[in-house]
């Protein structure tokens, strides 16, 4: 029996996580983060609307566990939103959920859980973790491949994983609903959405417009060989692989290939130019804490919803790694993470350069 803090969201997954742990006899406490929203939009932050807080309180009440809200507005603004803006400023397409998991959920909230006397913190993430004989904790893809969220958890390290529990990762989503019903918990789940919580349903371009207008400098649209074919209205407005909305007249469809932050140029090309066979990752985190000695064959995921692609991963100095794909991969996007899997296990990952 351990003291466990469950990071609750009001959704079915973290509710069931709490219920399962309680059923196993653990001393469960619910906690929820209050995150930052633009002033005036606090009620629509996807991760912590008054509705979802009320729902989490209801669940805590049904399960008869204490529930606390922890305010993370300032730290979220300073780390996650800054990271998001900085990522676009550098010409990338940042994934703020990664830094949120690293700095907010698994650092700020974990520290609060530990201060409360908890040994473990659990979340409703779909992922599996196993302690091996050398007392290291290893992270694996969830049983439900379709729901797997191990991608965003590749930022964890042994010090954090030691305290982590992912009770729903062992079940398919359908079974999670049944368990929720068995405990009399509300089964509504948030609409699966890749929208960022602090955008509150708004388009990120509007957010940048309001918060970092200087970032949206018009520039030239060029082809790989340097031919100017049009004007863009700010690099941050485009994503790699984007086809619509370029406004460049062309006989064949054109796609965004890369962004050149230095020259503020948007590089476009035809579909067959889209694939990449190699990428460089920086800030690579190895979950075991040890950098592999030699190159290894792995399945690599280049964004949250991407398909796994076979590649050879070569660890380099200074927390970098190169990834050579066995077949060209589309839409490799700077700022997103490349995560390395071997036999379902998350070995590590880093930010695409």
């Amino acid at each position: 029996m351990s003291k466990v803090v469950v990071a609750m969201s009001g959704g079915v997954d973290s509710s069931v996580a709490a219920a399962l742990l309680k059923e196993q006899g653990h001393d469960v406490t619910g906690m929820m983060l209050r995150l930052w929203s633009e002033p005036g939009k606090e009620d629509t932050n996807r991760c912590c609307t008054p509705d979802s807080m009320a729902q989490a309180r209801r669940v805590a009440n049904i399960l008869d566990v204490p529930f606390y809200v922890v305010d993370a507005k300032d730290v979220f603004r300073e780390t996650v939103v800054e990271y998001f803006l900085e990522g676009y400023a550098q010409g990338g397409t940042p994934n703020p959920c990664l830094i949120c998991n690293k700095k907010i959920r698994w650092e700020f909230l974990l520290n609060h859980a530990l201060a409360l006397g908890a040994e473990f913190m659990a979340t409703g993430h779909y992922a599996k973790q196993i302690k091996d004989e050398s007392r290291k904790t290893r992270l694996f893809r969830a049983v439900d491949e379709g729901k797997d969220q191990s991608y965003v958890l590749h930022v964890l390290n042994q010090a954090k994983l030691r305290h982590a529990l992912f009770p729903v990762g062992d079940y398919p989503k359908t079974e999670i609903r049944q368990i929720a019903e068995r405990f009399g918990l509300p089964t509504a789940s948030r609409k699966d959405s890749q929208d960022l919580c602090f955008l509150a349903g708004d388009d990120y371009r509007n957010f940048l417009q309001r918060n970092a207008i200087e970032m949206l400098k018009p520039g030239q649209i060029v082809t790989r060989d340097g031919k100017v074919v049009g004007q863009h209205n700010g690099l941050a407005n485009y994503t790699i692989g984007q086809r619509k909305g370029l406004g460049v007249p062309s006989a064949v469809p054109l796609f965004v290939l890369t962004k050149q932050a230095g020259s503020n140029a948007l590089v476009v090309g035809t579909e067959d130019e889209l694939g990449s066979t190699e990428l460089l990752a920086r800030d690579v985190n190895w979950l075991s804490g040890n950098i592999p000695n030699e190159p290894f064959r792995a399945e690599v995921k280049i964004r949250y919803s991407a398909k796994l692609a076979w590649a050879e991963v070569t660890p380099l100095e200074a927390n970098q790694a190169t990834v050579k794909f066995e077949a060209p991969v589309r839409d490799v996007t700077a700022g997103q993470a490349a995560v390395f899997y071997v036999d379902e296990e998350v070995l590590g990952g880093g930010i695409i350069q």
């Binding site: 606390y68 305010d71 409360l116």
Partner: protein
């Protein structure tokens, strides 16, 4: 779990519950009905009214039962302001900056939607409204002044009689929110010299959901809950008989047992105040050291998130409150903390410990043993 939040609410005294039970069961009549069921209910209300009047030293007809202290504040301020405007055209409404939201929000609404002119009275560093401030602020167009008897967040007691006398001499209505004070302070309205006074019984071992407003005879008051003729035509709606009976019974017990209750809580409170200021670095008492409610200790700690401290305390088995106690709201310093002139890094870290009859010396000792380490923990979590 040890309960240290008696200013938030109290459990119902078993004697009060006993007095209420018949009116939840066999004597369930509507007090406005002609038949004997109704007569019985009406008799219960009227005898409760007489009982309350006797402890307030006023006429039974001067007591209006309401649903809570906030409703009493609403009726007094909205009804009094409208009544005074009708009587002499007065437009100004004055209240202290440290009032409960039931008072401040009502006055803000009267300013925004009813054409009144609100003015906020400054408090001193202990949160007190002085006679001087009131004298300076009133004018011949002031209709109503509202100053709380004792502050809910910091426990400071205001010199009500002095303030009320100034208003009386100038033909201005004086209202006081005595919801916190009534649990421990005398509530003789002749001594206090107030025109209106709000009460709620759940702060002194009575039920939630019932309050009362004392309204001095001759006070111009316009009803805000219109309908039937209940409560002297000032508060329409079928009376909550059992709760009114409970209100009166709990007030009676409070009046009878006041001295012994004070004797019980005050030494505990003094022990807490002494030990906290002595053992916790960067701590400060909020409110007045002496002129404060006898069961009320309140502090601010520098560089502490007050809500986080409450979370740590709850997990450690102590139920306390903070100045800005709000489960979902913004972690911003409360208005009262700002009014006292506390900087943000102090105002965010408020803690209120309010004692009651079930607290023991052992409770206080175990609390004082753990509090310094929890403040330390909260401070560490604050420094990212």
């Amino acid at each position: 779990m040890i309960y240290f939040d008696y200013s938030a609410t109290t459990p119902i005294d078993p004697r009060v519950l006993d007095a209420m039970m018949p009116y939840l069961t066999e004597s369930f009549g509507n007090p406005s009905s002609i038949h004997r069921y109704g007569q019985k209910a009406e008799a219960a209300i009227e005898s409760a009214r007489e009982m309350v009047a006797s402890f307030l030293n006023c006429l039974p007809a001067e007591i209006i039962f309401t649903s809570c202290g906030s409703e009493s504040d609403n009726l007094a301020i909205r009804g009094g302001a409208l009544g005074m405007r009708e009587k002499n055209g007065s437009q100004w409404i004055l209240a202290s900056r440290a009032e409960h939201p039931a008072v401040t929000k009502t006055i803000e609404q009267l300013g925004k939607h009813y054409g009144f002119l609100p003015e906020w009275l400054d408090v001193n560093a202990q949160g007190m409204v002085t006679a001087e401030v009131v004298s300076k602020a009133i004018c011949n167009n002031t209709g109503l002044v509202s100053v709380m008897y004792a502050n809910n967040e910091i426990g400071t007691i205001n010199p009500l009689r002095d303030l009320a006398e100034i208003c009386r001499a100038n033909g201005i209505l004086f209202h006081t929110d005595a919801v916190q004070a009534a649990a421990y302070l005398p509530v003789d309205v002749q001594v206090l010299s107030v025109d209106m006074m709000s009460l709620g019984s759940h702060k002194f071992y009575g039920p939630k959901g019932v309050g009362a407003l004392y309204v001095r005879k001759g006070t111009p008051l316009i009803s805000h809950n219109t309908g039937g003729g209940q409560e002297n035509n000032l508060r329409a709606g079928t009376q909550n008989v059992a709760y009114i009976v409970g209100f009166a019974e709990s007030l009676k017990l409070t009046a009878q047992e006041r001295e012994q209750r004070i004797k019980h809580v005050q030494p505990l409170r003094d022990k807490i105040i002494g030990a906290v200021l002595e053992t916790i670095p960067d701590s400060q008492l909020t409110g007045d050291m002496n002129v404060r409610l006898p069961h009320h200790a309140s502090f601010v700690f520098k560089d502490v998130d007050g809500n986080l401290l409450l979370t740590l305390l709850d997990a450690a088995g102590f139920a306390c409150s903070s100045g800005s106690a709000c489960k979902t709201g913004n972690p911003e310093p409360s208005e009262v903390m700002n009014t006292l002139g506390l900087p943000r890094e102090w105002g965010l870290g408020s803690l209120r410990v309010t004692l009651g009859k079930d607290n023991t010396v052992a409770d206080v000792d175990s609390f004082l043993k753990i509090l310094p380490s929890l403040v330390e923990k909260a401070r560490n979590l604050n420094q990212r």
